[in-house]
C-alpha cells in the first residue's frame, strides 16, 4: 500500500459483509494522523461511521443535511445524497441559482432525472470527483487532501466506477459527455486514484475479490492498489498443541472444559483454513495482502477502530 496516501481519491471495494466500512474508516483515521485532511464518503446512505464514532446518538432519525461532518481531528464524513448532489451540480452549471432551483423542482426535470437509469450513480461519481479536486466547485467548497469512498458491494461498486464511461459513450458530445470523460480519466489515473479491495479469508469473498480484480482490469483498465484481508483469527496453537487439545477434548468429561476445548479446536481449524485462503489470494492476485485481525468485540467502538488504524498505518 506504499504511496496510497499520495493519491487524491481512494475507492474501497469488496463483497458485502466483509468490513468495507470499517476498513475505510481505519484508513481514514490513518490518513488523518498523517495530517491529510480526509473525507470519507459513504455511498449507500448508511451513516454507519457516525455510529461507530458515536456522534449524535444512534438512529436519531432526522434527515441530515447534505454536508460534511467532522468525525475525528482531520477526518470528515459525508453521506451521499444523489438528489442533493444533482441540485448542487445544477447550481454550478447554470448561471443563476434560481434557475437551478427552478429546474430541480420542475416536475419535468424530476421525470427526466428519474427516467435516466444510472443518474444517481453519475451524480455520485461527479460529487466524489469534485471533492477530490484542488478547488471543489459544489457544496461547501471545502478542500480535502484525500477522498475515501466506501463503495457499494462488489457488483454495484464496479457499476458505479463504470458509470462515467457509460455516460461518456451515451452522450458523445455536450457537457455531460465532456464531464463524464473527465471523471473517467481521473478515476483511471493511478497517480490520482487508488482502488483498494477488502475481503475476508473465505472462499466466496476471495473469489469475488479475484473477479473484481479481473473486471476492473478488463472493463476499466484499473489495477487494484492493494487488498486488505479483514477479520483473521489469531493462530493461538501450533499443530503439536492442537494434537494435545484433541486428546484432551476426547477425554474431557466436564461440559465446560469440553466446550472450551471444542471452541479452541474450532478456531484452530478456521485459522488454518483462513491462512490457506490468504495464500491463495496472494498467489492468484499477485498482490501483497495486508492482514487485519478479527476484533472480538460485540460492537466495534473507537478504540478498536483506532487499533485497526495503527495496523493500516504500518502498511502504508
Amino acid at each position: 500500500m506504499h504511496g496510497l496516501l499520495s493519491k487524491r481519491l481512494i475507492f474501497v471495494c469488496g463483497k458485502g459483509g466483509v468490513g468495507k466500512s470499517t476498513v475505510a474508516a481505519a484508513l481514514g483515521l490513518a490518513a488523518a494522523r498523517r495530517a491529510k485532511r480526509t473525507i470519507l464518503v459513504e455511498v449507500a446512505r448508511q451513516e454507519r461511521m457516525a455510529q461507530a464514532f458515536a456522534e449524535g446518538g444512534e438512529g436519531s432519525g432526522a434527515k441530515r443535511r447534505f454536508a460534511p461532518r467532522e468525525l475525528a481531528a482531520g477526518l470528515y464524513t459525508l453521506s451521499m445524497d444523489p438528489e442533493e448532489a444533482l441540485h448542487e451540480y445544477l447550481a454550478d452549471q447554470l448561471p443563476f441559482r434560481r434557475l437551478a432551483d427552478g429546474l430541480a423542482s420542475s416536475r419535468m426535470f424530476q421525470y427526466f432525472a428519474a427516467a435516466v437509469p444510472g443518474m444517481p450513480e453519475l451524480v455520485t461519481m461527479g460529487k466524489v470527483w469534485d471533492l477530490a479536486q484542488l478547488q471543489p466547485r459544489t457544496g461547501s467548497r471545502e478542500r480535502y487532501d484525500l477522498v475515501i469512498v466506501d463503495a457499494p458491494a462488489t457488483g454495484h461498486g464496479v457499476g458505479l466506477l463504470r458509470t462515467p464511461k457509460t455516460f461518456a459513450n451515451i452522450a458523445r458530445v455536450g457537457p455531460v459527455a465532456h464531464q463524464s470523460r473527465m471523471i473517467h480519466t481521473f478515476i483511471t489515473d493511478p497517480v490520482r486514484t487508488g482502488v483498494l479491495a477488502v475481503t475476508q479469508a473465505e472462499e466466496m469473498p476471495v473469489s469475488e475479490t479475484l473477479a473484481l480484480q479481473g473486471e476492473l482490469r478488463g472493463q476499466l483498465g484499473i489495477e487494484l492498489d492493494s487488498v486488505i484481508v479483514n477479520a483473521l483469527y489469531p493462530r493461538r496453537f501450533d499443530e503439536r498443541e492442537a494434537e494435545q487439545l484433541r486428546h484432551a477434548f476426547a477425554d474431557a468429561r466436564q461440559p465446560r472444559a469440553h466446550a472450551a476445548l471444542r471452541a479452541a479446536l474450532s478456531e484452530h481449524v478456521r485459522a488454518a483454513r483462513q491462512r490457506d485462503f490468504v495464500a491463495l489470494l496472494r498467489e492468484r492476485s499477485g498482490l501483497d495482502a495486508v492482514e487485519l485481525p478479527y476484533v472480538f468485540e460485540a460492537q466495534l467502538e473507537l478504540p478498536a477502530l483506532s487499533g485497526l488504524a495503527d495496523l493500516v498505518e504500518q502498511a502504508l
Binding site: K15, A44, L94, L103, M108, A114, P117, R172, M204
Partner: protein, 381 residues
C-alpha cells in the same frame, strides 16, 4: 418450526438480507430440502456462485434452469424424491429476452436491441440486476411448471432497491418523461406550459443536446413495448404480494445485518408483502452462561499445563464475547419479529461450500425444534 413448515403452500420463496450472511447457501439448502421431499424446485441465484455450480456438478450455471443430477445427491446421502433445477441470473440476457417477448414486431425488437443507449443501460447500470431478477422470477412462475421457486436476491445494501425494482423500472418505461419525449408538443406543452421551451433549453445545456436526441430515439423504439412493460410490472407486483409467495429473511447475528433484517421486515409490512420467517446463520452457541469463561484455565491446567490452558481460556473468552453478542442481537430480532418463525443455524467449523456442507445445513433447516437442539450438540460440540 422447520423451513418445510414455513414454506407450506408457497410457490415462491424470496431470500432477502444483507451481503455476506450466507444467503446463496441458505437458498440452495432450502431448495435441496424441498426437492428432496418431492417438489419440483428451481433455485435462482444472483451471485457469481461458481462453487454452487461445482457443488451441483454443473460446469456452469446458465440463464435457464438446469436439472441437477439425482445421483449426485444420492452420493451425498440425500434421497431426492423431487427435482432440483438451478440457474444463475444473467441480467443482460434476461433483459434481452424480455424485450424479445414484449416487442410487437421483430423489427421493433432489433431496433431496441441494437440501440446504443439500450445496450449501455441493460448492461451497465446498477438496478437492472434487481429488476431482471424479478422479471425472471415471473417468467419461471408463468412458464416453468415448478412447484417452488427459490430466489436468492442480489447483494443489495438497501432492501428497498429490490422491493421497488418493478415500480422504478416501470416509471422509467411508462414514464411521463417518456411521453414528453415521444410527443414533445403534446403533453410537454400541457405539463409545463409556456415554460417548456426554457426547461428544454436548460436540459439541453446541462445534458448535451445529443442526449435528448438519443434518448428520444431510444424511447421511440421502446414505444410499442410500454404497455407490455407496464402490464408486466403490475403482474410482478401482484406476484410479490401473492399469498403463495413468501419472503424469508437471512441474516447473521451481528448488529448491522440484524438492523437490516428488521428494516427489511418493516418494509415488507408497509408494502403488504408476505413475511415467512427469518434464518439466522453462524450463531455462536453460548456454552459458558453467566460463569466467567476465564476460570476454565484452572480446570484445564492439570491436563494441558498452565500456559496452554491459559491460551485455551483466552480463546474461550473471545468466543464467549461473540456468543453473548449473538444472543443479544437475536433477542433484539425476537422482540421485533415473530420468534416462532425464527430459525437459528450454528456457526459450523468450515464454511458451507460443497454438498456435504449443504446437507448439514439442510438437515438443520428442515429439523423440528427438538431435533435441532439435539443436533446442535452433534454439529457444534
Amino acid at each position: 418450526m422447520s423451513v418445510a413448515e414455513l414454506l407450506e403452500g408457497r410457490r415462491i420463496c424470496v431470500c432477502g438480507g444483507s451481503g455476506g450472511v450466507g444467503k446463496t447457501t441458505t437458498a440452495a439448502a432450502i431448495a435441496i430440502g424441498m426437492a428432496a421431499a418431492g417438489a419440483r424446485v428451481a433455485v435462482v441465484t444472483i451471485d457469481p456462485a461458481r462453487r454452487l455450480a461445482d457443488a451441483f456438478g454443473l460446469s456452469e450455471l446458465g440463464n435457464e434452469p438446469a436439472l441437477v443430477s439425482r445421483e449426485l445427491f444420492a452420493a451425498a446421502g440425500i434421497e431426492m424424491q423431487g427435482e432440483l433445477w438451478a440457474m444463475m441470473l444473467d441480467p443482460k440476457r434476461t433483459f434481452d429476452d424480455l424485450v424479445g417477448r414484449l416487442a410487437p414486431t421483430a423489427q421493433a425488437r432489433d431496433e431496441v436491441l441494437s440501440n446504443r443507449i439500450y445496450r449501455e443501460i441493460s448492461n451497465a447500470v446498477a438496478g437492472t440486476q434487481e429488476y431482471t431478477a424479478i422479471a425472471k422470477l415471473h417468467q419461471l412462475h408463468e412458464d416453468g411448471g415448478f412447484d417452488l421457486i427459490v430466489l436468492d436476491t442480489p447483494p443489495s445494501r438497501n432492501a428497498l432497491d429490490f422491493l421497488d425494482a418493478p415500480d422504478r423500472l416501470t416509471q422509467f418505461f411508462e414514464g411521463r418523461a417518456l411521453q414528453v419525449f415521444l410527443r414533445p408538443t403534446g403533453l410537454a406543452g400541457r405539463v409545463v406550459g409556456r415554460g417548456g421551451g426554457l426547461i428544454f433549453s436548460l436540459l439541453g445545456r446541462v445534458t448535451g443536446v445529443d442526449v435528448l436526441g438519443d434518448v428520444s430515439n431510444f424511447l421511440r423504439a421502446f414505444g410499442g413495448m410500454i404497455d407490455g412493460f407496464r402490464d408486466r410490472a403490475r403482474r410482478v407486483n401482484e406476484l410479490l404480494r401473492d399469498p403463495a409467495t413468501t419472503f424469508l429473511l437471512v441474516t447473521s447475528p451481528e448488529r448491522e445485518p440484524v438492523d437490516e433484517a428488521i428494516f427489511f421486515w418493516r418494509k415488507l409490512r408497509e408494502a403488504s408483502m408476505p413475511y415467512g420467517g427469518t434464518i439466522v446463520n453462524r450463531v455462536h452457541h453460548d456454552y459458558a452462561g453467566d460463569e466467567d469463561p476465564s476460570t476454565i484455565a484452572d480446570e484445564l491446567s492439570g491436563t494441558l499445563g498452565k500456559e496452554l490452558a491459559g491460551r485455551v481460556a483466552d480463546n474461550f473468552r473471545d468466543y464467549h464475547v461473540l456468543a453473548r453478542r449473538d444472543a443479544g442481537n437475536i433477542e433484539r430480532l425476537a422482540n421485533t419479529l415473530d420468534e416462532r418463525r425464527m430459525l437459528l443455524v450454528p456457526q459450523f467449523d468450515e464454511d458451507v461450500h460443497d454438498l456435504a456442507g449443504l446437507r448439514r445445513m439442510h438437515g438443520f433447516l428442515f429439523a423440528s425444534g427438538d431435533e435441532r437442539r439435539r443436533m446442535l450438540d452433534d454439529v457444534v460440540a
